[in-house]
């Protein structure tokens, strides 16, 4: 029997509030995303929030007009309360992929997870890289199209096309909830490049 976990990416105050475009895109996706997370929790699916923490000494960390967002312990680094439940798991990360130099893989293995549903912001960066990393590590990867968000719709669509081509099954949240409830998680069919 397959065991699924939901991974969210970067749903944190500083990151979502970076600009009006991003705030609006997240505001539009929030009601559906919250309902989806609640349905998955009811199905006993673990929810893991990947929390970006920028290191002060990382010259590559993105600065906003000179200041460093999502530093460890800051208010802006917190997971937005709408998405967070007390039983959820929070895993800190310092780079795009949630697996990079974290214990995410070990945590998922302890939970018996073999399939991950990757959600959150932004589709073309953290969702995409975490999905690729999960795929390389042998997980089944599902990306619910209405549970990922980008400031620009064209970026989201391009990322979904890439994910569908290389490593992930794209579903809606409703389809994923039904699949988990029926214990019929889809498998991505790898098409070898000639």
């Amino acid at each position: 029997m397959a065991r699924c976990a939901v991974l969210t990416n970067d749903l944190q105050y500083d990151l979502v509030n970076k600009n009006e475009t991003r705030k609006q895109a997240v505001a539009e996706f929030t009601p559906k995303m919250c309902a989806f997370l609640e349905q998955m929790r009811e199905l006993d699916v673990p929810v893991v929030h990947l929390q970006l923490i920028n290191r002060e000494d990382d010259p590559l960390a993105e600065r906003y007009d000179g200041w460093l967002p999502v530093t460890k312990g800051s208010e802006g680094a917190r997971i937005i309360e709408d998405f967070l439940h007390e039983d959820d798991i929070v895993v800190e990360k310092n780079k795009d992929s949630g697996f990079f130099e974290t214990d995410l893989h070990e945590r998922l293995q302890e939970l018996g997870v073999d399939t991950v549903a990757i959600t959150g912001m932004q589709t073309q960066i953290c969702v995409q890289t975490t999905a690729a990393d999960a795929f390389f590590r042998g997980y089944g990867v599902i990306v619910p199209a209405d549970a990922v968000v980008s400031a620009r719709e064209e970026d989201k669509q391009r990322a979904l096309d890439w994910l569908a081509s290389y490593c992930a099954t794209i579903l809606s949240t409703d389809e994923l909830v039904d699949a988990v409830a029926a214990d019929e998680l889809p498998q991505f069919n790898v098409v070898p490049i000639p």
Binding site: L60, K93, N94, K95, D96, S97, F99, F100, E101, Q128, T129, T130, A132, D133, A134, F136, W162, S165, Y166, C167, P192, I193, P194
Partner: protein, 366 residues
């Protein structure tokens, strides 16, 4: 004459191994020890660093004395000389580090000239506060890569700058190689009918480094190709010297830049076959995600050989015998089009022009 017997002296960063053995090599090399400005003043602390750490750490890959220059004998009338500086970020990566690249980059530049790499110089510019344990690790890599490549470090220099004036460590190496009699390679020899062979996967070094920098998730699937390829060139030249026109090291600018330079230098056109390009699946994934073209991505252990087209398959067989060239392919042909240009023949039958890359696709890859 061998390098070991020929070296008379070397400057600053080199000393005799015998001298080094009289010093406590690890006197100041605890894990917490760091480089201080005084390590670069030329005084006692410099001597301790050089004689007590650098020279012993280089071990058998180093010969020289604390004099102003190395005096070397060579066994051929002609030598090849090259130099390169290495500023890669990060300095440590999945299967290598800045030290390995500093040897391989220079050795490969010598090898593609048809030269047998013999000597290296090693100049280190260190940032104040740089961990000595990291320096030791880098020196170990330099030693191992130099031994593998068959080159000896014969001269060196060490400078220390204030914190923030550089990023951790920069390295410059210069190399000297012996050019065997009769070997004359160069773009001017490339002619219509020749074939282009690429010896390894395109772009892997770039994608590996970028993935580590940003945590993209590809870094364990795509490793750097950094390797000394002198033995590969030697094998090819031993068996096919008369059929090899020109060799190039595919580094910054990638294959696309190399091919354009050869087309321009030889006054020919090159048709490139898209389906024959050696590109690892995961590298294609990453390049597609990042919007970069593997044709322009840097390698650190990948060569492009222009060879007699009629002997290309035979030469390819020789190339593939080398452990770092299993993925080699014949990727293109030199053709007559009345212009100097590179064209990509796509798998769907279409064609496009492969332009020269202007500017850097990605910074600080080597």
């Amino acid at each position: 004459m061998s390098a070991e017997g020929a070296v008379k002296g070397a400057r600053m960063a080199t000393t005799t191994n015998e001298g080094a053995s009289r010093r406590p090599a690890r006197a100041d090399t605890a894990e917490t020890a760091r480089i201080a400005l005084d390590h670069g003043t030329g005084g006692g602390m410099s001597q301790e660093l050089i004689g007590g750490l650098i020279a012993p750490r280089l071990g058998g890959a180093h010969r020289g004395r604390m004099e102003d220059s190395a005096v070397l004998a060579v066994g051929t009338p002609r030598i090849a000389v090259t130099t390169d500086s290495f500023v890669i970020d990060p300095i440590f990566f999945g299967n290598g580090d800045i030290g390995k690249i500093a040897v391989c980059g220079t050795v490969n530049d010598l090898a593609v000239s048809g030269a047998e790499p013999r000597y290296l110089t090693l100049a280190l510019v260190l940032e104040e506060g740089f961990p000595i344990a990291d320096l030791e690790r880098i020196l170990d890599s330099i030693r191992e890569a130099a031994l593998q490549a068959g080159v000896t470090v014969v001269a060196g220099d060490t400078k220390v700058v204030r914190g923030g004036e550089i990023d951790k460590i920069f390295i410059n190496t210069a190399g000297v190689g012996e050019v065997p009699e009769g070997v004359d390679l160069g773009m001017r020899h490339v002619r219509v009918g020749d074939a282009a062979i690429v010896t390894g996967y395109l772009g892997n070094h770039s994608i590996h480094i970028l993935s580590i920098r940003e945590g993209l998730g590809f870094e364990e699937r795509i490793l750097s190709d950094c390797a000394p390829l002198g033995s590969l060139v030697w094998n090819v030249m031993q068996e096919h010297a008369g059929s090899v026109r020109c060799m190039r090291d595919i580094t910054r600018g990638g294959l696309g830049t190399v091919l354009n330079e050869v087309a321009d230098g030889a006054g020919v056109s090159i048709d490139l076959s898209e389906r024959d390009l050696p590109i690892q699946h995961e590298t294609a994934m990453a390049a597609d995600m990042l919007g970069v073209n593997p044709l322009y991505l840097a390698n650190e252990g990948n060569l492009c050989l222009f060879v007699d087209g009629e002997r290309a398959e035979e030469i390819l067989d020789t190339v593939r015998l080398h452990p770092d060239a299993r993925a080699a392919q014949i990727v293109g042909r030199v053709v007559e089009r009345g212009e100097s240009a590179v064209r990509m023949l796509h798998s769907d039958g279409g064609e496009s022009v492969v332009e020269l890359l202007y500017g850097a696709e990605l910074p600080r890859l080597c």
